[in-house]
């Protein structure tokens, strides 16, 4: 089987476009209906300007979404699109991806759509490793239903449904995805197009399920949720950019770094205070997700040091290629299906 698997992953079976594409090729005639100032605009533009780089035939790209502001996304993409129902996009996309290796399948979802009603489909997609690229627009609020707290809202959040503050501890989508056996787990942010596109680039090429959490501002119901990561004054001090193979250093002047303490935990140190060899080097390819998990815990409500980038990116055969391989193997072994023979199988007798 392993042979069959080789090179069958990700985009290798998706036909390439004939000519050069531009962002315009991916725009539809539909009016974009997000609130002015919504972070979704920036993500849409980033995706539309990124896709030409992949050079795939437009008709072989599909966007599948659930319900929410973010889930309107497919209407604005001039590809095949499916705006489905709340929380179910990963399930629908799984059927599509598992049956069509010649498609590049993207899921667009929100923090409510993916983590609240759709939580089960998300974690199962991750462990199955179906060829889906999941873009999770995390604005830490239910936008479309006008502002209730979401599974990523910070504790104590006052919203329409929690006038005295929310009680439940939020999910950290990265930790959850790592605990769910995700093979590609990343975080980026709406306001940093370069970073966003660099993550999309890696995700698109990944063989299996890629989860990309995108911090997204909802300027109507949760404005400024990620301001520390955006404010030019502080962002470099609190954003920890993860790069595979690079020492984890951050701060405006690279003045902070991560070190593994004796106990095994990560600790933030002043770069100047430690020897370069003590600075942790990010290894997204580590088969063991434990270090990626530990990095995910650096995140805190106060945004003291928030990692963005690719936490984990490892190889594991994708569900769809393995399924394909089983089909091929069955044919190899016993020949293609013969309906007449099938029906006449088992114990039969003839009456004349």
């Amino acid at each position: 089987m392993s042979e069959l698997l080789n090179g069958n992953g990700a985009l290798s079976l998706v036909p390439k476009a004939d000519g050069k594409q531009s962002a315009k090729d991916f725009k539809t005639d539909q009016e974009v209906r997000w609130c002015p100032g919504c972070g979704d605009y920036a993500i849409l533009a980033a995706v539309q300007t990124f896709l030409p780089e992949l050079g795939l035939r437009r008709e072989n790209i599909c966007f599948v979404s659930g319900i929410g502001c973010s889930s309107r996304f497919p209407y604005y993409m001039n590809t095949y699109g499916f705006h489905s129902i709340h929380g179910r996009a990963p399930a629908i996309a799984t059927g599509l991806a598992a049956s069509r290796p010649d498609l590049s399948v993207w899921v667009v979802t929100g923090d409510g759509d993916a983590l609240s009603i759709g939580g089960n489909h998300l974690i199962h997609a991750l462990r199955r490793n179906v060829n889906l690229k999941i873009l999770l627009f995390n604005n830490r609020i239910y936008g479309l239903t006008k502002g209730q707290y979401s599974p990523t809202s910070e504790v104590g959040k006052i919203t329409k449904s929690t006038p005295m503050g929310s009680l439940d501890a939020p999910f950290n989508p990265i930790s959850l995805a790592l605990g769910a056996e995700g093979t590609f787990v990343a975080r980026t942010i709406d306001s940093d197009r370069r970073h966003l596109q660099s993550v999309l680039r890696a995700a698109a090429q990944h063989n299996g399920t890629a989860l990309v959490e995108i911090y997204q501002n909802c300027n109507i119901f949760n404005d400024g949720a990620f301001d520390p990561l955006k404010d030019p004054e502080v962002r470099d001090d609190v954003t920890v950019r993860l790069e595979h193979g690079e020492p984890i250093v951050f701060g405006r002047e690279g003045d902070k770094a991560l070190r593994r303490s004796a106990s095994g935990r990560f600790e933030v140190v002043r770069t100047a205070d430690v020897d370069a060899s003590q600075i942790a080097v990010h290894d997204a390819r580590d088969p063991d997700p434990s270090l990626a998990f530990a990095l995910s815990r650096l995140d805190s409500p106060a945004f003291e040091h928030t990692p963005i980038g690719i936490f984990r990116q490892v190889e594991r055969p994708s569900y769809d290629e393995q399924l394909r391989a089983q089909l091929a193997e069955a044919v190899d072994r016993d020949g293609p299906g013969d309906l007449a023979a099938l029906l006449a199988g088992g114990d039969t007798w003839r009456i004349d």
Partner: protein
């Protein structure tokens, strides 16, 4: 010893024992022997919901009933002529069904004080005269089996386990069954355990010889083969036939089959069966839940597969939101509901017809779907093909309503010639149409184009929001919504012109009473009708394959009879639809016992209506 041979036209045997006694296997083997002998037959397995309920208890009793005859028959039979009871629990649970004078074979070895007490027998019924009204054959089956296997190098437990083969051998002798099939089967089954294989074969042969040599049985019976249309036959259960129907639908449409399913009794076997047919390009996906299962199937349909999902009633409840999405997006999808007794978890291994209104109406908004129902185990094959035809032609989810009785029951099936099966045209939208409109309808069928990803120039977006016909963009226009709602309904209603009119069996043409059924009641109703006719009654019979839309002539048929009786294993669900649509005062007959109707019971009901005319 030469035995008397008595000719019978039909026999009903029930094997009953502990879940661990292998009664389903015994029944299956006897069925295969009987089938290959050329009798017509019908079977009814009946087993507990527990995997292995505690040994020797009433809930642990498992049984298998087989009806076979020298003529065509329709049901597994109302009451057994012969009951095989492997232990006191099996006796207690089943004796009530054995008519006076019936044959009763009991395995006395199991009638120990402890086992008797377990099921509340104060005294041993085999000895206290309470079974005097039956023809009792009290046999120490276990010890005879163990005795016969003395020389084999197997454990006592394994030897004891072979007692079902001893019983099978005895019954096979008693009814003159061919034995090659069973011998070959045992060889296959235990190929990897030759000791066990030989022991089982020996037990089987010992049972046969016992019948032949002992005085306990003075008569041997013979049931001649039935005259059946020429052809190649096999015995088949409903779930198997259904799975084959799906494979056939894939082959005949050229569409790859994609099954998204979550296991649930009594539907799981369809998943199991289809997972074996990867050679046909059939993809099976065991999902994390029912919602993911139908979601994946719908996603595959969007991608140009024949999307299928299989489940039972509780699963349908979970899938209902996604069925609505399939209605709104107008994609082909097969939703297979193998009904079981509800509400809620109900009685998972028992049958019922109480999901009709659920599949008809169980979604938000006006969301019509066609409904097709098979009427016998082998008919599941044709029904699956018909459901697929409608789904693909009309770009719509279609519900196929099977049930636990059809699923596990079996009957001989004349294997169809593949070339005679209907072909199904996917009719994908062709690339390159200018200004492609994903909701431009075919004027005849009102179906929209099926434009699958990968087709250049047809890029489009679909979704669950309301849309104008044609473009498929989002629309909140009030009048458009009214128009679209009516269009979706009209598309489904229009299928009435694409299905055969309801055929009525009314031989004399003089009947004033019609009995109308759907689904698994076909056999019981037809058998009842035969009885009524045999007794001189005039009765017309019709059976609905399509529950939505109804055949175009249904109203007219209903109105041409003075009385219409509608037997259903629910509280009157089809009756409600008929009354609501045609304003005909149909008479429901409803019993929910988790079992098919008895022919006798229905014959009585029908006769009463005739008499009250």
């Amino acid at each position: 010893m030469t035995k008397q041979v008595q000719q019978l036209d039909r026999v009903i045997i029930r094997f009953a024992g502990d879940s661990g006694d292998g009664m389903q296997l015994t029944g299956d083997r006897f069925t295969q022997e009987t089938a290959s002998f050329g009798n017509d037959l019908s079977t009814l397995p009946n087993f507990p919901a527990e995997i292995r309920a505690p040994a020797g208890t009433l809930p642990g009793v498992s049984s298998f009933q087989l009806h076979f005859a020298d003529h065509d028959i329709l049901t597994p039979g109302d009451a057994p002529n012969v009951l095989v009871a492997m232990n006191p629990a099996a006796l207690k649970a089943n004796i009530g069904d054995l008519p006076r004078g019936g044959d009763l074979i009991v395995n006395t070895d199991e009638f120990t004080r402890r086992n008797l007490a377990k099921v509340g027998y104060a005294a041993n019924p085999v000895e206290d005269g309470s079974l005097d009204e039956y023809r009792v054959h009290a046999l120490p089956l276990t010890s005879m089996t163990v005795g016969a296997l003395e020389d084999f190098d197997i454990s006592k437990k394994d030897a004891e386990r072979a007692k079902n083969m001893f019983a099978l051998g005895l019954l096979s002798w008693l009814y003159h069954r061919p034995t090659e099939g069973t011998l070959a089967f045992l060889e296959r089954k235990f190929a990897k355990k030759p000791g066990i294989m030989k022991a089982n074969i020996a037990a089987f042969q010992a049972g046969w010889s016992y019948g032949e040599t002992t005085e306990a049985f003075s008569v041997q019976y013979e049931v001649k083969p039935a005259a059946q249309p020429a052809g190649l036959y096999r015995n088949i259960t409903g779930n198997m036939a259904l799975a084959y129907g799906l494979v056939a639908a894939g082959v005949r449409s050229g569409l790859p089959v994609f099954l998204g399913s979550y296991p649930i009794t009594p539907a799981s076997d369809i998943l199991h069966e289809l997972s074996k047919h990867k050679r046909f390009g059939v993809r099976t996906f065991q999902a994390e839940d029912e919602i993911a299962a139908i979601g994946a199937a719908l996603g595959a349909s969007f991608g140009g597969s024949l999307g299928v999902t299989t489940t039972s009633g509780p699963g349908i409840a979970l899938k209902s939101e996604t069925i609505g999405l399939a209605v709104a997006t107008e994609l082909p999808l097969l939703v297979i509901d193998v009904q079981r007794a509800g509400p809620s978890t109900g009685m998972p291994t028992k049958t019922e017809q109480a999901d009709l209104l659920q599949v008809m109406y169980g979604r938000n908004g006006e969301a019509p779907v066609p409904i097709v129902a098979p009427q016998s185990p082998s008919d599941c094959f044709d029904a699956a093909l018909e459901a697929a035809r409608i789904a693909v032609r009309y770009r719509t989810p279609v519900v196929l309503l099977s049930d636990g009785y059809l699923a596990n029951g079996s009957e001989p099936w004349r294997i169809p010639d593949v070339d005679t099966l209907p072909t199904i045209e996917p009719g994908f939208a062709e690339p390159g149409e200018e200004g492609f409109q994903p909701f431009r309808r075919d004027p005849e069928t009102l179906a929209r184009p099926w434009a699958v990803p990968g087709t250049a120039g047809l890029e489009h977006r679909i979704g669950g929001l309301e849309k104008p016909d044609g473009s498929g963009n989002i629309s909140y226009d009030p009048d458009n919504h009214d128009t679209m709602t009516r269009l979706r309904q009209a598309k489904i209603d229009g299928i009435a012109n694409d299905i055969p009119p309801l055929a009525v069996d009314d031989p004399s043409g003089r009947a004033r009473v019609l009995v109308l059924g759907w689904g698994c009641t076909y056999g019981s109703i037809a058998a009842a009708v035969r009885r009524v006719r045999a007794a001189g009654g005039e009765i017309a019979q019709a059976h609905l394959r399509h529950l939505n839309p109804f055949p175009a002539n249904l109203g007219q048929v209903l109105r041409s009879y003075d009385r219409v009786v509608v037997p259903e294993i629910n509280l009157g669900q089809l009756a409600l639809l008929l009354r609501g649509k045609y304003l005909v005062d149909v008479i429901g007959y409803n019993r929910m016992r988790g079992l098919p109707f008895k022919a006798e019971e229905l014959a009585g009901v029908i006769q009463d209506v005739i008499d009250s005319e």
